[in-house]
């Protein structure tokens, strides 16, 4: 394990940014989001970013290809460019876990090369949690918030950042900044981990009962009357899906340019009334059905198809950002099992 004093950390950013595009939680216009680091930016580690780090791998909009029209001939242009290597700093353990979920979707056959390119080019530096919040549910989803699963894991204790490479990519990154790091033992980090685990016990959502969410109960849960009440106030906005680190739905759209068409993909939200709309209409006509789809997918369908892995990492963003404060915790408490009362 290595460490660096936080007072020296901008040097570290500087060195990394010479070789890589460096993304970090940066505070801009009052809010913390992952953004490209440039000198002078304020990096904030103790807050949750509004948008998740999935942005860097599966951006909200992404050009696929363009068509250029010249008279009546059409030329197809591949808009993909080699993704430059980049580093994402300060990724919380829950968010680290989200890449496992996304990998299952995008790296399974047929492989989504747009995602794959970025995944290969990106180095994730995880950051262990020391002050989880009441909205944190990571433990309920099997995430150890003291053990970020990433290329490099890091901890901040007493004004120092501890770093430990996990993968080869991680090693490579640490070797780049080796000159700035000093060797360290893990005593302080271990102390912090133990403390965090104690706090976890006090958090109300870290031990949700999800025993009922099994493929066998699929029909029963699907037909629960509770969905009506849970979804009645839903505004049908896309906040929960857009701040979610694991939501992976997208729409492919065309933009008419001056001399042709640009085809791009952008995030879609199952909360929207035109989600998966086809010429014959949409399969889910009511907001209840769309609301149910989201949670059924995260808690039942996805695990049923992915060895029990939930499509939720318990980051709690939806819980804090929903305009009407409806969220996955409330759904789990209503439908997850007996021990939630």
């Amino acid at each position: 394990m290595k460490k660096i004093s936080l007072s020296n950390i901008s040097k570290l950013y500087e060195v990394i940014s010479r070789e890589y595009d460096l993304y970090a939680p940066i505070k801009k216009a009052g809010k913390v989001n992952f953004a490209k680091w440039t000198d002078g930016e304020e990096v904030v580690f103790n807050a949750q970013t509004v948008r998740s780090p999935k942005d860097m791998f599966f951006p909200q909009t992404m050009d696929l290809y363009s068509l250029k029209m010249q008279g009546k001939t059409v030329e197809v242009i591949d808009d993909r460019s080699e993704t430059a290597p980049f580093v994402v700093f300060g990724v919380k353990p829950c968010d680290c876990k989200s890449f496992e979920v996304l990998d299952r979707v995008f790296l399974a056959e047929p492989v989504d090369t747009y995602y794959q390119n970025r995944r290969e080019a990106g180095i994730i530096v995880g950051l262990g949690c020391s002050a989880p919040s009441e909205s944190c549910m990571c433990a309920s989803f099997g995430v150890d918030n003291t053990e970020p699963v990433a290329d490099v894991k890091s901890y901040i204790v007493d004004g120092e950042m501890y770093l430990d490479a996990i993968t080869d990519k991680g090693e490579k990154l640490l070797s780049l900044i080796a000159g700035l790091l000093v060797d360290a033992d893990s005593t302080k980090v271990d102390e912090q981990k133990a403390k965090t685990k104690e706090i976890n016990k006090k958090l109300p959502l870290q031990n949700l009962d999800m025993t009922r969410f099994t493929a066998d109960n699929l029909n029963e849960i699907f037909n629960e009357e509770e969905w009506e009440g849970l979804s009645e106030a839903c505004l049908a906005c896309g906040t929960c899906t857009y701040v979610c680190p694991t939501c992976q739905c997208y729409d492919i759209r065309d933009f008419k340019t001056n001399d042709g068409v640009k085809r791009f993909r952008c995030w879609d939200s199952c909360m929207y009334s035109d989600f998966t709309k086809m010429s014959a209409g949409q399969p889910r006509n009511t907001q209840m059905q769309r609301f149910r789809q989201r949670f059924m997918h995260k808690l039942v369908y996805f695990p049923a198809n992915n060895d029990g892995m939930y499509s939720c990492v318990g980051c709690g963003r939806c819980a804090t950002k929903c305009p009407i404060s409806m969220n996955i915790a409330k759904v789990i408490k209503k439908l997850g099992g007996k021990h939630n009362d």
Partner: protein, 144 residues
Amino acid sequence: MQEVKEYTPLIVAFCCNWCSYAGADLAGSSRLSYPANVKIIRVPCSCRVNPMFILKAFQRGADGVIMCGCHPGDCHYTSGNYYARRRMSLLFSMLDYMGIERERTRVEWVSAAEGAKFANVMNEFAKTINELGENKRLEDLRCK
């Protein structure tokens, strides 16, 4: 010596059919010239001009947008330009508030008899836009 291609700004003018478009016709038949980069779109009345059209024009690369209608009180449809006047006042004020140069948008009342005014307005507006240069704050690079 290498020739530098000068940037010519693009101006979209929405003209109501009854007064301003006729004013433009009169400017034409009076051979009063104004820059070729002023391009006119005919609408039945200034009240047909939707703010979306104006934003669309900027998105598509216009550097200035001007809306021309009958003089207040002379609207062919009696009140259309009064509504247009309020709409455009608010929209332009909003664009200004967003930091988009206020000189890029304009409303002028041009009657069917004011061919000279039409040409003057367009010359003057084109000059203003020339000085302002390229529209950067409401551009959509996909359209360039």
